[in-house]
Subunit: 343 residues, 2 copies
Amino acid sequence: MRRRRFGNAPAGAGVVTMSDVASRAGVSAQTVSRVIGRPEMVTEETRKRVHDAIRELNYIPNEAARNLASNSSRVVAVIIPTLSSSAFSAQVKATIDTLEMRGISVVIGNSEYSAVREEQIIQTLLERRPMGFILTGLHHTPRAMDLMRQSGVPVVETWDTDTAPLDCAAGFSNIAAGHDVGSLLAARGSRRIAFVGGAAHQDSRANGRFIGLSKALEEADLPPPLRIELVLPMSTQDGISGLDQVLQKAPMTDAIFFSADSLALAALLECNRRGLRVPEQLAICGFGDFDLASLVTPALTTVKIQPDVMGRASAELLLARLDGDDKPASVVLQHQLIRRGSA
Amino acid sequence: MRRRRFGNAPAGAGVVTMSDVASRAGVSAQTVSRVIGRPEMVTEETRKRVHDAIRELNYIPNEAARNLASNSSRVVAVIIPTLSSSAFSAQVKATIDTLEMRGISVVIGNSEYSAVREEQIIQTLLERRPMGFILTGLHHTPRAMDLMRQSGVPVVETWDTDTAPLDCAAGFSNIAAGHDVGSLLAARGSRRIAFVGGAAHQDSRANGRFIGLSKALEEADLPPPLRIELVLPMSTQDGISGLDQVLQKAPMTDAIFFSADSLALAALLECNRRGLRVPEQLAICGFGDFDLASLVTPALTTVKIQPDVMGRASAELLLARLDGDDKPASVVLQHQLIRRGSA
DNA sequence: GATCGTTGTGATAGCGCTAACAAGTCGGTA
DNA sequence: TACCGACTTGTTAGCGCTATCACAACGATC
């Protein structure tokens, strides 16, 4: 077979192989492989000669060949609902940064909040024989779980620690977070409370927050919260529509807990525009502590969760598994209720 | 060599190879390969038998082997300054979605606004023999450009069309966008105008906007704008610090053009808090048309650029190249100045 | 000085797949 | 009947790398 080049590349380098480097350096291909993979096994003298040859020839190792021969891929698959949400993108960025230091690349899948799409993505990404998966949430299709189990690949689940993970998890308790918000609202004197968030079947994180909220209200002898379910993906504008739905269905509502700051901020700004006084007439609480949350007037009361820490923790958990730790303990991150002016 | 499994997987499937499927279906491995890669070459009868075998054995093709044998990788490398910016993450999401339909995965690199890091990332990602690169901006180190050229891989550059691309580009004119803002500010009667954005050596997009702004002010016989350069990465809070720097260095400033909506929104909200009337005392213009831009009071005047369209366009440009189009025309997207209340 | 372990390097044999070609089958045409 | 081309399937030979084992060279040990 004729020498070929990168992809459908027209011409040039990239065709330099390890044995080209080897003959240039006067050593065997195996030695070149060692210089690249385990340099400590090679004398400094040889190492230098090989490095010179690599530089002179502009040699770039072929990852596919390396993967095939070593049966390991240096790729981790990360599946999130959508990259166009600052929380998920911050998480993924932290994961990429953490894994990059170990020479591991990340391949991202967007499930669009659908367990079925998640399953399809898992199936496809499995072709790359990833070293591990980082999934969002604890809910997956039965077949997705089977695929994970059968492949034997380590899995870390994120964003939720309220039920048992497939393997291990790096997340926080949505129920506890929702409970904290409920307690705060009850304590401040709110009586008719509503929840606005993603539809239960799409967004089990929002669901957890609602459950926690409900429990806190029950403990405070308050009526159960009205729940408005939004179809995902949500836009910021949906915050206003959520506000409207609440006011229409329950005009006497005196506090709303939004499952995302984007929604809460939109609603809060809309209240300002309408002259609805926050928090006197309507208290508002968000989730996520977006950058602007502290800058609006009144500043937004919200729950901080540090998605970047979660992204790093999940990557580290995976690395621990890859380094032989048989079953590292899940990481439960602490949320933080930040009380500002809006509730 | 003994049969091995996924990564360091403990047990289970994933060890099924194409020839296992072949013998199960009573055909050759090549026929299985055809069923997967070019099903139209195989009779329906055989195809069905092979599909049955695939399903029964839970066969999952090995992408690394496929890459090595076919000398092509089904991976595209995307390098952006940072994933933790909604504009870049929206862009990347659109790119992923577009390429996914062709079975191509995306590997992301975060350059952190550094050309040197970009070069390192290119070097590393080249090991995966990507089918193409999507880079941000037109400025790269000489060695990075050499690497691209030598590898012969198609390159699409994004976010800027103000100078000549390496290969082709999908972006918009930052100069024209800045010019539009300058013209608007001049027309509305602003006289002492400031620009707040990323440092010139880090952010050539912001630089282009500043150049356009300056030109428009010059054309309107206005003094050149004060420029405040922020060190990247910028946080939303930096909008306030930019505002402060402007007011300190040039207290008479009556308009500020921020190179990002996040900064502009922070500054606008801070003005509200301080009782500085926008736009009467200080006009504010942003860039990017964030979701909240239309919701604050006064609503933010800004420039809309549709990063998602850019992400899709850049992917399609790359696909055109891969499909043989020798040098597809660059795509110049139109920005849109959206005038609202703040300027 | 024979034996040992240690260290550095080389030779060999694949990893799982696809490209390229070979070969068989079929119906239609001369 | 012989031959052609179209279509389908099989055979062979790697892709570029690493795992594994073999082996040479060396000082340390008794």
